[in-house]
Symmetry: C2
Subunit: 380 residues, 2 copies
């Protein structure tokens, strides 16, 4: 008892065997309520926290959750991670972060996924927006390693996934501009290697079509999800003769829209007076720290909730009894093509979170307004 208390100390103090203490700590049902309470009280008094390393080793199941992120500088990460951290903070799990580094890891025969598997350090993995080929994740999943994917570009079938309906959101953004009376609506896409870029574009096309508007190829340009791309594309659009120039732009994300704003200023184009602008993402961590004028009408992705839900889902994969499944907590849409995966018997592994349209000044709205998107309406 010189250092921190160990489970033996607690057992001694409680007058029980350490096996019983262990049972209580692991939420086993078959313990006498009285002794359970006594043990918990002593645990509390002593400030006892059991060693994650030891219990992981002994039980074969660690209480560390891995989070794989492309880069800490990817703007979505802070928002998502705050949600992740909030849920983890309520549990006795901790977070191990793996980031995909530009530079080579020391042992470059073994990639990160191998490393995650080989160290057997973490009990499960949350993969955020992975730039890794999804097959790697599929491999993990196939090996019965619990994985949840957030917004991956093309989630392997049956890998649990949390995200939004990008097509519906693209549809809503475009429809908003149409309802404002715009007829020449441009779209600056995200990088077309990403599935979400395609989906948002599909929503754009669908909205035009549903409104009987023509899809004008000149008004669709591929950006890069960064201001540089938005700026370059907007310059092209703004240099068009007035009669062909768009009166509104749907940018595939906010950063692209920032580039559009810069280009507009260069060209003496006033937003929203001359051109209306809609973005996509509405990151809390960004909007709190910069001061973009005019404020952007945009699609808000619920990143914080994505973080929460994805960790909750992962935890339920790890310990169903403690962290019950979410049958009724969210809307989900089943991928019914699964065959053979052990996850098949589960509820479908795709969780769609509701996005919303946030109307602000860049479309001419005097007062901000948040409009929830309707449930998966227009999805083909």
């Amino acid at each position: 008892m010189s250092g921190r208390p160990t489970i033996d100390d607690i057992a001694r103090l409680a007058g029980v065997s350490k096996a019983t203490v262990s049972r209580v700590l692991n939420h086993k049902p078959d313990v006498d309520p009285a002794t359970r309470d006594r043990i918990l009280r002593i645990v509390e008094e002593q400030g006892f926290i059991r060693s994650i390393a030891a219990s992981g080793l002994a039980g074969g199941r660690s209480r560390l959750i891995g989070v794989l992120i492309p880069s800490f500088a990817w703007p979505l990460i802070p928002d998502i991670m705050n949600g992740v951290a909030e849920v983890i903070g309520e549990t006795d799990y901790e977070l191990v972060t793996y980031s995909i580094n530009d530079r080579i890891r020391r042992n470059n025969h073994v990639d990160i996924i191998d490393r995650i598997l080989a160290t057997k350090l973490t009990a499960g993995l949350l993969a955020i927006y992975s730039a890794q080929p999804p097959q790697h994740l599929a491999r993990l999943h196939r090996q019965d390693f619990p994985v949840v994917v957030i917004d991956d570009q093309d989630p392997p079938p049956n890998v649990p996934w949390v995200g939004i309906d990008n097509k519906a959101a693209g549809y809503a953004a475009t429809r908003h501009l149409i309802q404002l009376g715009h007829r020449r609506i441009a779209h600056i896409q995200g990088p077309m290697q990403l599935l979400c870029s395609h989906e948002r574009y599909e929503g754009y096309c669908q909205a035009l079509q549903d409104a009987g508007l023509p899809l004008l190829p000149d008004l669709v340009l591929e950006g890069n999800f960064a201001p540089t791309g938005g700026r370059a594309c907007a310059r092209i659009l703004f240099s068009m003769p007035p009669e062909r120039r768009p009166t509104a732009i749907f940018a595939a994300n906010d950063q692209t829209a920032y580039g559009v704003l810069a280009a507009a200023e260069e060209n003496g184009i006033h937003i929203p007076h001359d051109v209306a602008l809609v973005g996509f993402d509405d990151l809390a961590s960004t909007t709190a720290h910069i001061d973009i004028r005019p404020e952007l009408t945009t699609i808000r992705q619920p990143f914080y909730e994505m973080g929460q839900r994805s960790i909750e889902l992962l935890l339920s994969l790890l310990e169903k009894p403690r962290f019950p499944a979410y049958e009724n907590r969210w809307r989900y849409s089943a991928d019914s093509t699964g065959r053979g995966s052990h996850i098949d018997e589960e509820k479908p592994p795709r969780i769609y979170l509701p996005a919303s349209l946030v109307v602000r000044a860049s479309c001419g709205s005097p007062h901000p307004l948040t409009i929830p998107l309707p449930p998966l309406d227009s999805s083909a």
Copy 2:
């Protein structure tokens, strides 16, 4: 050998005892070079990575590094963490992130520091910009728990620390404006609970004094390190009668400067023509993702390097032989007041990294220009 190889498998394949394998893995010097190579080859072939949990348990020294961050959304974090992750990626250590959540943790009798100590999960801690009272960190340090602090508001004496010389940087920013010919230079401070806000302000005062300029109290306002504060303060400054209005503003960080830009636009004030503006930080993760016009003249803090150096320092605290100390790699300035701490015999635990002045359009410079700051010249 059905699952992942274990150290026994390697030992068997190499025809040695597992103790020897362990010695090799732990970089012990006393192993026959030939067998060492053979073992390493087999380790490589098998893709063997030893369990962090088990080796931590057995050796009493884990290979997990804790990183304590206030919030993932704090803008400095991505830049720093990328540097941290790069160094960690070269080692066999992994990162455990602890973030200070607004909400209560489940067991709120035990704060995060206690938790970090109690789980004995991590071998050391990097505390970034902690909003926690520094005494907590001092407690860790006193318990011989290896800690390194980045840019903490008031680092306890003798706790290893990595950062910049804020006073010198504030001095350089202000002097730049003076050299441009400005005489009425305002300063929008950071929140004055933070030490760095005081230091930057001191640099500002010193620069004015050295130039024989009066310190005008009306021109010093306290912001909050966010655009809202910058905007509010700038409105006050811009509403002053022309003869008292500043011709230049030194904002204590870039986010504050963004607020100034917004206020300028509101008031029809042109930057840099009417008012020159200097910021502070120059975060790579921010500038890459937004498109602020005009581009900000600012002080660049080497956050990526801070991340790298702080982890290297922490690693050297943990394993001096493997990760040698940094006697000659950086300039440092000793805090010679230490008494009794075991770190005393070490090289001084304060590492000052060089900042630089980045000249851009917000001061009227047509072309960006980076000027390294001179070594700790003007520090009192």
